[in-house]
Structure formats: C-alpha cells, structure tokens
C-alpha cells in the first residue's frame, strides 16, 4: 500500500480522522509490515493509552506486542533501548513528558548517544512517544511541553506534529528511522472527547502508507507581513489569529516546525527574509529553549533581516500554575499571539 495508489488517493480526500486515530493508524500499518515493532508503556494495553495513543492496538496485535509495563520508566525505556540495539524497533511511551526526570539518563545518555559512542556500529531504531502540554489545569507536573529540553540534548531526533495527517506521517517516518526519535504529541491536538479540541484536530488523513519527512517544516499559511514560527497546538492558535487578522489586511505567515531536531533553519530564514518580522509562539518555557534558537537561526545569518524586535509568545519562566486563570495567563493564547503580531507589524 502506498499513497500513490489511485483508489486510495480518491478516498484520501474524504477520510477524516482525529489525531490519535491517525497516530494509531500509522502504528498499525507499520506493525503489520514489520513484526520487530512492539509498543511498550504504562496503560497502553487494555486502557489504550491515557491520551488514546494506542486505542485498539491490543485487540489487533495482542499482549505480546502491545505491552503494559510497571511504573518503572528507567527500566522499560532502557529495555526498549537494548531491544533496539538487538534489531527490534520498539515504540516506548513515556506517559507524560513531565516524567522525563525519572528516566532521562536512559534517554539522553544512552538512547541518544549509543550510536555515536559506537562509531555508528550500533543502531538504536526506537521511537519514544510522549504526551505534552497543558491548558486543562493539570498542574505543574503534568502540563509541561519540555521539547526544548529534549531538543537541546544531541543524538535524538525530536518531532512534534500538529495535525492528524502529520501525526500519521511523522509516526511512520519515526518508526522507519534508524535513529532514536522522540515523538511528542500535544494532548490538545489529539481530538480527545474529554478535552477541549482545536477545530483542526479532526482532518483528512491519507489512508495508505503516508510519510512526512523528518526535518522539513511546513508553511501552514503563507503571508507577507510577519512570520509566526511555531509548533504543535500553537500552530492552530496562530492560524486562528492569522485568519482573524487577514480581515484587517495583516497577512501573517505561519510556519509549523514539525521537527525540532533536525531543525529546518532554511524554512525559518526563507520566511523571515520575506516578512522581516518574527514572532515565535512556543508553549515551552521562555528562556534557554526553542524561541531563542529560532531567533538565533536568523541572527546567525543576518540580524538585518529583522525589521522589528522579535516577539516571543511563550510559557514564561514559571512553574505552570493550576488555577485556570493563572494557567491561561501563562499559556500562549490567541490573545497574546494577536497582540504580538499587532505590535510587530505596527
């Protein structure tokens, strides 16, 4: 099955899925073609993943391949690493990215470095999936995105889908990649029935094999007045703002990074070359993270491209508060994005 199949291409135009189903579809298709793939994690079996990342997989592939683990992230992520070095292609789920603190050593000192330490002789073809993001008052230990933390540490790819089709395509690519790939899915893009949904969380998804190359950003909306560089759920807020401002004649380009490692620096530069104005929207913490790197991508080449101060609409450097109003004061909301765009183009 490839997406060049004509019948499917016709169907593709019609078939809409939410993001979690698109993710699961990619996993299903890959598991069918490669039986060295297993999916390990907490509550990934009968529960189907706390954020529906594995719904239906147990029924389809059985307990030998869809495996509930003890709450021992270091042990089971390490297990995934060892299995990958021995030729399997495990997908391992860290339920919330916030829990990286109990297992980061396996992730960044082992999963990410074994290939290099071995001079390329040992491959670690593993996917680490993890849920990120807040906006539903889950408090400061269950609402972080932390992609800046992962992306800072070399040796692992980091992908961050924003919509159903990309979720499928990036998952397929991640599974087939011979390198460790961290696949970070925002709860707010999954289309979960029990959480506020963005309107693009159900969308057209190609039915057959679908690959989105890792490392290529996407121009989610073309525009000429200002560039918003963003990722994941914030893509939708940014698109909403861009659509709203279009009526006023403010033409905003929205870049969906899709991948932090590798980072598509050319896509950022191309857009800023065109617009001269940059807003970075990032749900991760402000300092020492994604927003600074996006900016430096421009200044590494030519600070003169920037015709106005850069606006960084991010989670400020604060532990994420629980109370709804405080959390929404911290999140990169549409209001904050809109204000930033207005300021940059003024």
């Amino acid at each position: 099955m490839t997406s060049t199949d004509t019948t499917q291409a016709t169907q593709q135009a019609r078939r809409r899925l939410n993001t979690s189903k698109a993710m699961v579809e990619a996993i299903t298709q890959e598991m069918e073609r490669d039986d060295s793939i297993v999916y390990l994690g907490e509550d990934v079996g009968e529960y189907g993943g706390i954020f529906s990342s594995t719904t239906g997989l147990l029924e389809r592939f059985g307990k030998d391949r869809i495996i509930d683990t003890p709450i021992s992230e270091t042990a089971f992520i390490g297990l995934g690493i060892g299995a990958a070095t021995e030729g399997m292609r495990p997908i391992v789920e860290l339920m919330f990215a916030d829990f990286l603190g109990v297992c980061l050593d396996q992730i960044y000192n082992h999963m990410a470095k074994i290939h290099y330490f071995s001079g390329g002789n040992v491959k670690v073809p593993m996917v680490l999936t993890t849920a990120v993001g807040g906006g539903y008052s889950d408090g400061g230990q269950h609402s972080q995105t932390l992609w800046g933390t992962f992306a800072h540490l070399p040796g692992m790819k980091v992908v961050v889908p924003s919509n159903p089709a990309d979720a499928k395509g990036l998952m397929t690519s991640a599974i087939r990649d011979d390198n460790p790939v961290v696949y970070m899915f925002h709860k707010g893009i999954m289309g979960l029935p029990w959480m506020a949904k963005n309107k693009r969380s159900i969308d057209i998804v190609p039915e057959g094999e679908h690959l989105v190359p890792i490392g290529k950003a996407r121009v989610a909306r073309e525009g000429s007045d200002a560039t918003i560089v963003t990722l994941s759920l914030s893509v939708h807020h940014s698109l909403d703002v861009a659509e709203a401002l279009a009526g006023e004649g403010i033409d905003v380009e929205v870049i969906d990074l899709r991948s932090l490692v590798p980072l598509d620096r050319e896509a950022i530069l191309d857009s800023v070359r065109k617009t001269g104005r940059l807003i970075v929207v990032d749900e991760d913490y402000l300092s020492f993270g994604v927003s600074g790197e996006v900016v430096a991508t421009v200044t590494d080449v030519d600070p003169g491209l920037l015709k106005a101060p850069v606006k960084r609409v991010t989670m400020p450097d604060v532990p994420i508060p629980y109370a709804h109003d405080l959390e929404y004061a911290a999140l990169p909301t549409r209001d904050r994005i809109e204000a930033a765009v207005r300021e940059v183009v003024s």
């Binding site: 408090g139 604060v318 508060p321 109370a323």
Partner: protein, 374 residues
C-alpha cells in the same frame, strides 16, 4: 489537626493499645537483626472504644469530603465531560475505599509529624489534619488555598502539619527522608510518614529511599497502599512478588502486610512502626491491601476492571460500621452524629472555597522565588 480527628486516636495511646491480630504478618528480615517491636506493644489488648470511634470518624470525614469533591467536580464539566472545565478542573484522583490506611496510620501522628502523600492525597490530608478550608480552596484554585491556587489537588502543602504531596509516582518518598533527617538532628521525636501506591513500589525512588532510610536509621514509616491497580495495570502485571512487605528484608527493616483493608490492623501495625521510628530504631515498611472504590481518576470508565460487581460490599466504611455496631461501639445516633459533623465541616470548607477569590492573572509571576530574608 482536623476537627473530626478525635484526640483519643492520637499517638499517646498507641503504646498500650497495639495488639497483634491474625491479619498482620511480619516477614523476618533476612539480614541485620531487627528488634521485634511487638513485644513493647502489649499484644492481645483490643483498641479502646474511643480509638475505634476516632478511626471511624476519620474515615467518615474523609469519605464525606470526597463525596463533596466528587459532586463539585462533576457539577459543571458539561456538556459532555471536559476535564479542563468547571469549578474544579484537571485530573481528580479520589481515595474512596482507601480511608482505612490513612485513618489507621495518622491516628498515631501529631501535627509535628510529616506526611508526604501521592497524587491521591485527600484521605491522608484529612486524616493528618490538613486545614480543610485551605485545602479545598486550593482544589478550587483560589487565593485562599494552601498554595494560593498555584498547586492544585496533586500539590497540597500545609506546613502547619508538615503535609505535602507530589504528582510524580514514588517521588514523594525521598523528601520524607529529609524531613525525618531534620527532625532527628533537631532532637525531636517527630517522624515522617511516606506514602506510595503498590504501583510506585516498582520505581527506583522506592528502593533508594528504603535503603538510605534504613542505612541512616531515619524515623520514617513507609506506607504502600496496595489497591491492586496502577491506573489500568493490575498488580500482578507490575510486581514480581505478591507482597511488598518481603522487600523490606532487602533493607534489613521490618516489613508487614495488612490484608483485607482492616483499619484496626493498620492502626496496630502503624503503632509499632511509629514507635520504632520515634525510638530511633529506624524505618519500617507497611503494605496495606486496600480498595480503589472508584476510578483511577474521575472520568476513568474502568473497562479494564472485572472486580466491580460486588465492590460496594467491600466498602470499608459500612463494613467497619457493622463491626463497631456488633461490638456495641456504634449505634444509629453515633453514626448520624459522625456523618453530620463531617458534613458540616466539609460543606463549610466547600463554601469557603467557593466564596474565595480567584487569583489575579497579573500575579502569575509571584511566588516563584522567595524574597531574600537573611
């Protein structure tokens, strides 16, 4: 301490009232000799009526509290169920069914003792006497809350009774060591109680904490609440042994497992462990077979669970109520009065929370860092 925790359930009595019941088992530590604290616990004597009433009242208060939280939590999540909506948004882990553990353990504690609880903290908070109004206000995300609305239901800190909790599985254990360390250095006989679920007992932090506490003979009582589930994962699918008590031998400390969610057996085992800790003899591990009466969190459909049919029959509160009625300790009037007192206290707390202010978004960046004071 919480109003419904009658004084009679406090530590002063534990030294004379501990008994060994048939529901407790203590595995012989395979290594360093461990003093048998049962000898000092006057085996064979029953709990006093006051103690039993105290345990019962604490359990009732805790349940009453959670029923109210349940009601408020679901009151305005609709249409449908949106977890982020309502007066109480976010994940909600209720402890209904697990009250015997908190009641039995905290009956031995004073406000000087520390408790570090889990993502499912309410029963321990109630039993340890956390300020119910401030706790409720925190759960409602109000400025009058324990954390001024910054923490939420998984992050309740009440320094007045040395209570804290954490949303990261097993990571509440290590800080308890430090509290115990500070108490010990200060020369008080205060102790720290560290709580975790049976799922948490497979985390590295569990092991490291037990070893370090045992090595330094820290006054800690480690509690494992075995409610048989870690979200949807059954104990048998997470744990290589059927009792965490056997793990205590790996640290040369006493380990005990209480079967059948028995509040009195918990009370007695905790009495021994608390006494041992206060006496400077080091930590103990107590696992209690308890019951998760409701879902892992609110909204959990529990499709994975096959033990739900007869579950209400296992509810520890009616069970303990019958037992106490049979023993003549409790009658209709006492039951009613326990409930009424609980309802009054709980609804006052709920009202207090609802009447409190919502934090000002302008104050977002307050309380990240303490002001310099020295």
């Amino acid at each position: 301490m919480g109003a419904a925790m009658t004084e009679s359930t406090h530590a002063s009595e534990s030294t004379t009232e501990c008994t060994t019941t048939s529901t407790t088992t203590r595995s012989a530590p395979a290594d360093a000799p461990v003093p048998d604290t049962r000898e000092t616990s006057a085996p064979g004597r029953d709990l006093s009526d006051d103690t039993r009433l105290g345990l019962y009242s604490t359990m009732v208060l805790s349940r009453t509290y959670e029923e109210a939280i349940l009601r408020e939590y679901h009151a305005d999540k609709g249409p449908g169920f949106d977890i982020g909506k309502g007066l109480i948004p976010g994940e909600m882990h209720l402890s209904a069914g697990q009250e015997p553990v908190a009641a039995g353990v905290c009956a031995h504690l004073t406000a000087e003792d520390a408790v570090t609880a889990t993502h499912r903290p309410h029963h321990f908070a109630v039993a340890h006497g956390v300020d119910m109004k401030k706790m409720t206000a925190e759960i409602f995300g109000r400025t009058t809350g324990l954390g001024r609305g910054r923490g939420g239901h998984m992050h309740l800190f009440d320094p007045d009774v040395h209570f804290s909790c954490s949303g990261i599985v097993a990571e509440g254990y290590p800080p308890a060591l430090g509290m115990a360390f500070a108490f010990k250095r200060r020369g008080t006989d205060a102790i720290a109680v560290a709580v975790a679920g049976e799922g948490a007992a497979n985390q590295g932090a569990f092991h490291e904490s037990l070893n370090l506490a045992a090595l330094w003979k820290l006054p800690v009582v480690f509690i494992v609440e075995d409610n048989e589930w870690g979200i949807s994962v059954a104990r048998t699918a997470s744990t290589a042994v059927s009792s965490n008590a056997v793990r205590a031998a790996g640290y040369g400390i006493p380990g005990e497992r209480i079967e059948d969610n028995d509040v009195e057996a918990v009370y007695q085992a905790a009495g021994r462990a608390v006494e041992r800790a206060r006496a400077g003899e080091g930590p103990s591990l107590i696992e209690v077979a308890t019951l998760r009466l409701w879902g892992h969190f609110e909204g959990d459909a529990q499709g994975y669970r096959t033990d739900l049919d007869d579950i209400t029959a296992l509810d520890p509160i009616p069970r303990y109520e019958s037992r106490l009625r049979e023993a003549g300790v409790l009658d209709d009037a006492a039951v009613d009065s326990a409930r009424e007192r609980a309802v009054t206290q709980v609804e006052e707390a709920i009202d207090f929370a609802k009447d409190s202010d919502i934090p000002d978004p302008a104050d977002l960046m307050k309380y990240i860092f303490a002001e310099e004071e020295r």
